[in-house]
Amino acid sequence: MSDSRSTEAAPDAPLAPRDRAANPAWLDAGYRSTARRGPREPLVPLPLAASVVPAPDTSRFVVADIEADLTRNGRANGEPLGERIVVAGRVVDENRRPVAGTIVELWQANAAGRYRHPVDDHDAPLDPNFLGVGRCRADGEGRYRFVTIRPGAYPWRNHRNAWRPAHLHFALFGHHFADRLVTQMYFPGDSLLAHDPIFLSVPEHARDRLIARFDLDLTVEGYALGYAFDFVLRGPAVTPWECG
């Protein structure tokens, strides 16, 4: 596939299409910011081979263990406030194959619903001991694990009395560059989910894929509640049994 000039370790199979029926539309009547930002032209299809662009090479980048513990990685003079939680699970493709070694990135609001970001002007306190950013590398089976603080809900200006449900932002790559997943994880039983246009932008049948499951086995006795959440990325376009 590659010639002598190339030493690429590219994934050799094209990428299965993104399941558009399980994803939000670009223009969403409930989420106002989409109106002038979502593209109106149809996406242009490409030959399958064009998808064979490997995800970034992260092999030279070292991820330290403490980066996955948001209750420790931002400490200034003590512990962050709020309810400690463990969020853990697997990164797999739709054929259940682990995506080993991929970097999972996390950012979030603090327990009071405030982000450590200059454009967040919500009248809620910052926590001097909490940055709200974490990172970890999935292991050989695609397993990842974070320790953090349960984020608070916060108001936004999308419509009158609009509140975002508590959520964690995640970003990760599969084996291909185009297999980019940036998403938000929500918590089970949150009453705000039924009112949140961003969550509701996902077609109904796929919404539960964004809600973590409370898991007593992930709970650390006397320390933190556990939530399970798996990421399912796209698989190869042609499955092995179809190849014969």
Binding site: S2, D3, R5, S6, T7, E8, L15, P17, R18, D19, N23, W26, D28, Y31, S33, R36, R37, G38, P39, R40, E41, L43, V44, P45, P47, A50, S51, V53, P56, D57, T58, S59, E94, N95, R96, I103, L106, W107, R116, H117, P118, L131, V133, R135, H169, A171, R180, L181, V182, T183, Q184, I198, F199, S201, A206, R209, L210, D230, L233, T239
Partner: protein, 188 residues
């Protein structure tokens, strides 16, 4: 449509207005080291140095000041692997003028029918998923004419994928999310 044994893909959500915390913490002076920046290649890297500069604009032609752009390109020899001074992957966030830049080298190619290019993924508040596009160099006329990805784009819209030379080693590539001359985004 999907096979019964397959898992459902995790849906995307917007990157939101606060992504710098997690993805470009250097941008807001957060003490957390990013693993990618707008510098795809340093002076040490093999290849001709180029800078890609552009703006992200919304459907009213207004600058999008909170967009995340990720770039992926081949090294000078046409491979995808990282090399000395070269990561092959960049991340940039737009500024108050909606402007972003990548400092890099001119990408190599792997085949004669391929033109040098950078794959770009655009995300922002108001975008519920990643938009994939590709920046070609307008002065690579012959190679662009042979490139199969450009060929897949309707002729009238191809110019939206061409980065224009504005100075030696400096190219401008604006991204229009919507409206007249909307940038071509790929179903990839």
């Amino acid at each position: 449509m999907s096979l019964p044994n397959r898992l459902g893909q995790t849906p995307t959500q917007t990157v939101g207005p606060y992504f710098a915390i997690g993805l470009v913490p250097n941008r807001i002076a957060l003490p957390f080291a990013p693993w990618a920046t707008e510098e795809i290649a340093t002076e040490e890297a093999e290849g001709d140095r180029v800078t890609l500069l552009g703006r992200v604009l919304d459907g009213d032609g207004m600058p999008v000041t909170d967009a995340l752009i990720e770039a992926r390109q081949r090294n000078a020899r046409g491979g995808w692997d990282a090399a000395v001074g070269f990561t092959g992957y960049g991340r940039a966030a737009t500024d108050e003028a909606g402007q972003f830049r990548f400092r890099t080298i001119r990408p190599g190619v792997a085949r004669d029918d391929e033109a040098p290019h950078l794959w770009l993924i655009v995300q922002a508040r108001g975008l519920l998923g990643p938009l994939v596009t590709r920046a070609h160099f307008a002065d690579e006329t012959e190679r662009n004419a042979r490139d199969p990805v450009l060929a897949a784009v309707p002729v009238a819209r191809r110019a939206t994928l061409l980065a224009e030379p504005i100075a030696p080693g400096l190219y401008r590539f604006d991204i229009r999310l919507q409206g007249p001359n909307e940038t071509v985004f790929f179903d990839l």
